[in-house]
């Protein structure tokens, strides 16, 4: 089955896609750091937020997609909103914090969805990110599709064998099998590596 949904927009074409990944990475880091380390006036945050929405649109990332991603944070916002109500802090503070997290989310999104993953890894390498970690990240990406395919097929097989809603017992065995299959896969990779010298 075809899956490329984890960075599905990175192969589109837009002015943003064309910007050098190094530049995008630096800009992203700058925004994230600035937002996280300093107190920023809410009005400025709104401006930055709207600007990033504009950049998202420019990069052809579907609106629905980036809006849903922003909402990933909502449980957190809900949690702190309750705290704020209890401690009687202002709505403005909640807005300020929310905007900050939205802004960083949009910045990461723009970086990752307009840069192919392997290019992103290369960029991190140029910034002296530890090679071993980059290797692990590449493995995660590379085998993500393989493993999710396996999970999907196993889930299909279970559905056909009459288990529509998976029980914890079944899922434990399924995950156990996934782990064992992953181990076997690693063994095969080792053998392949040996043969390649």
């Amino acid at each position: 089955m075809k899956h490329n949904f984890i960075d599905k927009y990175s192969s589109l074409s837009s002015p943003i896609h064309k910007i050098s990944p190094k530049l995008k990475f630096v800009l992203f880091l700058a925004i994230a750091t600035f937002i996280s380390l300093f107190d920023v006036n809410t009005k400025i945050l709104v401006f930055i937020f709207l600007f990033l929405i504009f950049v998202c649109k420019l990069s052809k990332i579907p609106t629905k997609f980036f809006l849903t991603r922003i909402l990933v944070v909502s449980p957190f916002i809900f949690l702190i909103a309750i705290s704020y109500l209890v401690s009687k802090q202002s709505f403005l503070t909640i807005l300020n914090v929310s905007l900050k997290s939205f802004i960083v989310i949009l910045s990461i999104l723009i970086l990752v969805q307009t840069t192919r993953f392997d290019v992103l890894i290369e960029t991190l390498k140029k910034f002296k990110f530890p090679k071993f970690l980059l290797l692990l990240l590449s493995f995660i990406y590379r085998y993500f599709f393989v493993l999710t395919d396996e999970v999907e097929k196993m889930a299909f097989a279970l559905k056909l064998r009459q288990q529509e809603k998976f029980t914890a017992k079944t899922l434990t065995k399924l995950i156990g099998m996934l782990l064992i299959r992953s181990y076997k896969r690693a063994e095969r990779i080792n053998k392949a590596m040996l043969l390649r010298g």
Binding site: H3, K153, L160, Q162, T170, G176, M177
Partner: protein
């Protein structure tokens, strides 16, 4: 005897990434038919099989035993035995007995009924004595047989096999072939094995780029163009 078992009308399916996997699929399969699904890798064979059992959200209409697949999933699946290409996708229990008994357990049969049915199917497939063995540690050929057992234990009316002989050595292939021949259900077999097709099947459906290229009697294999496109040679 010649009742229509599977009826497919205007079936099409698009992958989540937008690529069209199947288009304009129309065909009918009658009871007792043993049809081979042929085609190159990526022509849509497995996708078509998954649509038939309602695992994918297809467009168009598929009726099995006269009932719409999407509306009657549970009932239809009780009567279909499906063997996946990779046995590791199907076997996940600690003993052969548990794996074969699994679908019966889900349907609520009691222990005694299960024991009888499992024994029956293991006997048929020459797997008696394997009950306590771990499926994970069996040879590839043995795993395939256990998968077949899990499919047959329900006494299905339709048997679907996805690449049943892929990676099997000649002896196991022969054994498997004999077993399949002796099973008297409607069968759909997706395969690349030309000898298997000639010996077991009475009809074929050839997929090319997600569309039906050819459909009909097994004698169509004689036609060389058909052979080339079915990528059996």
């Amino acid at each position: 005897m010649n009742e229509i078992v599977i009826e497919v009308k205007n079936l099409s399916y698009k992958y989540p990434d937008g690529k069209q996997a199947l288009k304009n699929i129309n065909f009918v399969i009658i009871e007792g038919q043993k049809i081979a699904f042929l085609g190159a890798n990526g022509s849509g064979k497995t996708t078509l099989l998954f649509c038939l059992v309602g695992l994918l959200n297809y467009e168009g209409e598929i009726k099995i035993f006269g009932k719409d697949v999407k509306q009657n999933l549970k009932e239809i699946r009780k009567n279909i035995g499906f063997v996946f290409e990779n046995p590791d996708d199907q076997l996940f229990n600690l003993t052969v007995y548990e794996d074969v008994a699994f679908s019966l357990k889900q349907q609520g049969y009691n222990e005694d009924e299960i024991r009888i049915k499992v024994k029956e199917v293991l006997e048929k497939l020459k797997l008696l004595g394997y009950e306590e063995r771990q499926p994970y540690h069996l040879s590839y050929g043995e795993k395939k047989k256990v998968c077949l057992a899990t499919a047959l234990v329900n006494s299905p009316k339709i048997l679907i096999l996805d690449e049943p002989t892929s990676n099997l050595d000649p002896a196991s292939t022969r054994e498997f072939k004999e077993m399949i021949k002796n099973i008297n259900t409607t069968q759909i077999i997706a395969t690349h094995d030309i000898r298997f097709v000639k010996e077991v099947c009475d009809s074929l459906l050839i997929l090319r780029n997600g569309e039906i290229f050819s459909f009909g009697d097994i004698s169509l294999l004689e036609n060389s163009e058909v052979l080339l496109s079915s990528r059996l040679m």
